[in-house]
Symmetry: C2
Subunit: 249 residues, 2 copies
């Protein structure tokens, strides 16, 4: 048995998220089907994290095992030949025995794209959250700095999640306006792990600050509240991109 680490990008617009579901088209189902077409094996794949419907990935990491004799680069080309154009395998690498995309992940980075302009951009409707009001990026930066470090982030966690602890460590958080004419504000968050909907809930709160509904120091109060109801809206899925997943090699 060989173990593999596969890196892939996808446009989540057409899919009901990563995870296999009985009556919906998912990225996992497409990828497992492609592997079956190539190797003849029915193989369960594991992604570093499930992405929800409409969420995109620049570099999702997937682990699986196979008895295939194919070289990694041949497998890469064969999988892409069996996948639709909105899912692309970027790399296939041999991994150590037992490599597991969730358990072995040490850091993840997400990006969230906001389009702040009076008029929506039809070509960004599936890749950004359109906010009509111009966002105050300096206030959002100040607010975001309170998120850095190790905190109990349960105020930013979707209700009903199962996990051992809601303590996570945010290693990096940035808010920047993209240079150029287009009204794009990009939030990036890197952490040792994320709670369910954590980035979308953080972005929802940052937009409340950026639009002037809340002061920048409100984010500290939200963290301290340890209560999901303190944080406000959840940003919609289509602005979210999984940027990268790091592993100790």
């Amino acid at each position: 048995m060989r173990f593999f680490k596969l890196t892939l990008s996808y446009d989540g617009t057409a899919y009901a998220g990563w995870q296999v579901q009985s009556n919906a088209d998912t990225v996992q189902a497409r990828l497992e089907h492609a592997l079956h077409s190539v190797t003849g094996e029915s193989t369960r794949m594991t992604a570093s994290g499930r992405t929800d419907a409409g969420v995109h990935a620049l570099a999702q990491v997937v682990s699986f095992s196979s008895t295939t004799a194919l070289a990694c680069d041949v497998l890469l080309r064969a999988l892409n030949a069996n996948l639709p154009s909105d899912i692309r395998v970027l790399r296939v690498e041999e991994a150590r025995e037992g490599f597991h995309a969730i358990r072995d992940a040490v850091r993840k980075r997400y990006r969230y794209v906001l389009h702040d302009a009076p008029i929506p951009d039809v070509c960004r409707r599936a890749y950004a959250w359109h906010v009509r009001q111009q966002l105050d990026v300096a206030a959002m930066q100040q607010a975001a700095s309170a998120l850095l470090g190790t905190h109990d982030f349960r105020s930013f966690e979707a209700a009903g999640s199962e996990r051992a602890t809601s303590v996570r460590t945010i290693i990096d958080v940035s808010v920047r306006r993209e240079p150029g004419a287009e009204a794009l504000v990009v939030v990036e968050v890197e952490a040792d792990g994320f709670l369910y909907n954590m980035v979308r809930n953080i972005v929802g709160a940052l937009v409340e600050v950026g639009s002037g509904s809340r002061p920048a120091n409100w984010i500290g109060d939200v963290i301290a509240a340890l209560d999901r109801k303190a944080a406000g809206v959840t940003a919609p899925p289509q602005g979210l991109f999984l940027v990268k997943v790091d592993y100790d090699e």
Copy 2:
């Protein structure tokens, strides 16, 4: 009878272009259908120019006449309520009698987006031309400068086009690399009018220069050749955006 000037944006991905066709979904058909739903009238609309399948518009201009008594802002909201999310009416204005979106246009501006990186970006596959090789923007800028001014552009015109003359005046042309991390090169061309496929043929030639296949001064030779076969490849439709259309008020 009232005359209207309508400005709209659309994501051309799902459509067989602007113009009504018997067996295909088009932007014009959707817009005329929406107007019929709102006013009960069957009205033919005229766009400043047909866009091909997959080509996008940030601000296409459309003229039509109607006996509707609705105010412009009411018409705007009612049309958008009857249109899919990939077509948005941005403005509806009363126009002078006989206003005609093609005949009265005095200038148009197009943008073409190139993504030059070894790996494709799935979320840009419908909004840019992916070129694997890094483009030499300085060489493309030098090449583009030869296009400025009044020339016979028949070398950049699709075969079989019907028009009185192939002489056009390019008022502005720019090639720039977008600031930021993403590998995006944007070409913009503004002219008093465009021949069929002219921007896509110009971009195809500029990419030959940017990738080192041709020297920058080759563009002048292509213009002088007065022959479509001299210019090389046609850039694919999905990178093309109609940016604006100007009228003498």
